[in-house]
Amino acid sequence: MEPDLKTSVKGEILAVKDLPTLPHVLDEVTKLIENPETSSEAIAKVISTDQVLSAKVLKMVNSPIYGFPGRISSIQHALVLLGFNVIRGIIISTSVFDMMVQSMKGLWEHSLGCATACNIIARRAGFEDPEEYAVAGLLHDLGKVVTAVQLPDLHKTISDTVVAKNIPYYYAEKDVLGFGHDRINAWLARHWGLPPNIREAMARHHSPQLAEFYKPMSCVVHIGDFLVRLFEFGNGGDDHTAYLRPEALMELKFKMSDLDKVMDEMSDQLLEVSDLTL
């Protein structure tokens, strides 16, 4: 491993100009936005299933140019403030993955499943604005997408290491790069000006006990990630079960029975949501 790999990886990651997404979502959003009758709620619903479009929307609305950086954590609110013209612009300038990157589909489902789980968990914990927890859940693996796009060779090495050493993706990242996608998330979120709650949850979802300012959101995403893996909904890069930190359950004052109820709700909702994915 080169001594300055971290610096060069960080430089590459932050230099990302064009993040592609999956064809089916882009098609759907394009269709919706071409219809003048479509409401912003309808568009928000579809964009909320796609981590790349959601990240782009949040990045833009939280840009200093709009005048209120770091305030908006909800896709619905972002759309109201961006307006149809700007959203159309984002969609027009978003390309799709070529057929080669099929593993991305699994990652998309995993992220959507995590978003669904986080919404349910946040509501059960009695938190306000559960949609914002869903957004954090949706974006928790964005670092993996950006690595795949910007550093395809390293991405392949990581995937090969997962198979060869039979370890989770996160450990394979640490093996190959020296750091994980949670660190990459932290760079991206800061660079893009994402709101601080989402930024911390993205950076701390593997170690929620270290979260300082937005511990509840970090814990919710941690649990959401764990649960969606249990359901084997989508693919986070490996087929291992994650370690569930007891601190996360304590922070939300969850008992096992709460987890059970969450999982029951998840079974129903994941079924509905899987209709959205191809």
């Binding site: 005048g67 209120f68 305030r71 109201v80």
Partner: protein, 320 residues
């Protein structure tokens, strides 16, 4: 050029000063516009023009670098150095040799320049553009960049004159001052930028109809829509505002649903979260004849809307 004022780009007759010894230039400029649209007053040297310019500023100054008594750039800087005259657009005419070495546009503040030999079509359009651009810049709200009072009044008056039905809504934010006092002006500006975006996007979502959004200043906004769309627009603006504004408060204040601040007399007071009040004047069957009527009706409605500390709208539907 036989275009009338109505056909032109301008709302009223424009006046211009040309400071130049070049008779051909003067002749060309005077021919390009009908004097009802844009009228040039020609001065062969700079000195004679300056006092007149200060007393009765024209809408445009065209100054020739060939002036013999005073340098063209000096005239330009005289104008731009006073805040009272600063918005007067200045166009400099030069010879090719003049611009062989780059000019320091930070030191010589003109708005555009034209290089000999002059192409009349280009001159006409560049001057038109300079005038239009100056009007836009002058009237735009410095924070939101939305059109300001002058544009708003012009728009309303032109709708009245053309007998078009319209609804005019005045929005302002209740308890904005207390938010500013507690959180500071920078965060207050965030609220205004957010409100501007919110209103613009809501109004723009009605395609193909008459619409307009203006920012009078501070927390006062204005929008225009056809009478059959305005009520729904008010409801949507209120809903979005009420949904989004809590996120601009600190978590503790947001949870409580109020902030503790100091009022004008220095007393500690509790203020609710900000709300939006909208007063709507509807003009149908050409009952309103002048802009002044619109604003006076609106002021009465606004008082009523502000009686409710929550976001609300009041629509005036009196008939002729």
């Amino acid at each position: 050029m036989t275009q009338t004022l109505e056909e032109s780009l301008f709302q009223r007759k424009q006046t211009a000063f040309l400071l130049s010894p070049d008779k051909a230039l003067a002749e060309m400029l005077q021919k390009l516009w009908s004097p009802d649209v844009l009228e040039f007053r020609v001065f062969e040297n700079g000195g004679g023009a300056i006092e007149k310019m200060f007393n009765e500023p024209p809408d445009l100054l065209v100054v020739d670098n060939r002036l013999t008594d005073i340098a063209g750039r000096e005239v330009a800087n005289l104008v731009k150095s006073e805040n009272v005259y600063r918005q007067l657009p200045v166009v400099m005419c030069v010879d090719p040799i003049d611009v062989e070495t780059p000019w320091n546009w930070n030191k010589i503040e003109v708005d555009d320049f034209l290089v000999r030999p002059f192409n009349p079509s280009e001159v006409r359009d560049r001057v038109n553009l300079t005038l239009c651009r100056a009007m836009r810049a002058l009237d735009a709200n410095p924070l939101s960049k939305l059109p300001g009072n002058t544009s708003i009044i012009q728009k309303i008056q032109s709708l009245i004159d053309s007998d078009e039905d319209f609804a005019l809504a005045y929005c302002d934010l209740d308890f904005f001052k207390s938010y500013n006092d507690k959180y500071g002006f920078s965060r207050g500006d965030e609220i205004l930028m957010m409100s501007a975006r919110l209103i613009v996007n809501t109004i723009r979502s009605y395609p193909g109809v008459l619409s307009f959004v203006g920012h009078v200043g501070g927390d006062d906004f204005v929008f225009i829509l056809p009478p059959d769309k305005v009520e729904e627009a008010c409801q949507r603006i209120i809903q979005s505002f009420d949904d989004i504004v809590p996120h601009f408060y600190d978590p503790a204040d947001r949870k409580r649903g109020n902030i503790t601040s100091v009022d004008r007399e220095g007393n500690t007071k509790i203020f609710p979260l900000m709300a939006v009040s909208i007063a709507v004047v509807v003009n149908t069957e050409a009952r309103i004849k002048h802009y002044g009527e619109v604003s006076s009706i609106a002021m009465g409605l606004k008082k009523k809307a502000k009686e409710d500390p929550k976001s609300s709208y009041v629509i005036d539907r009196r008939k002729g």
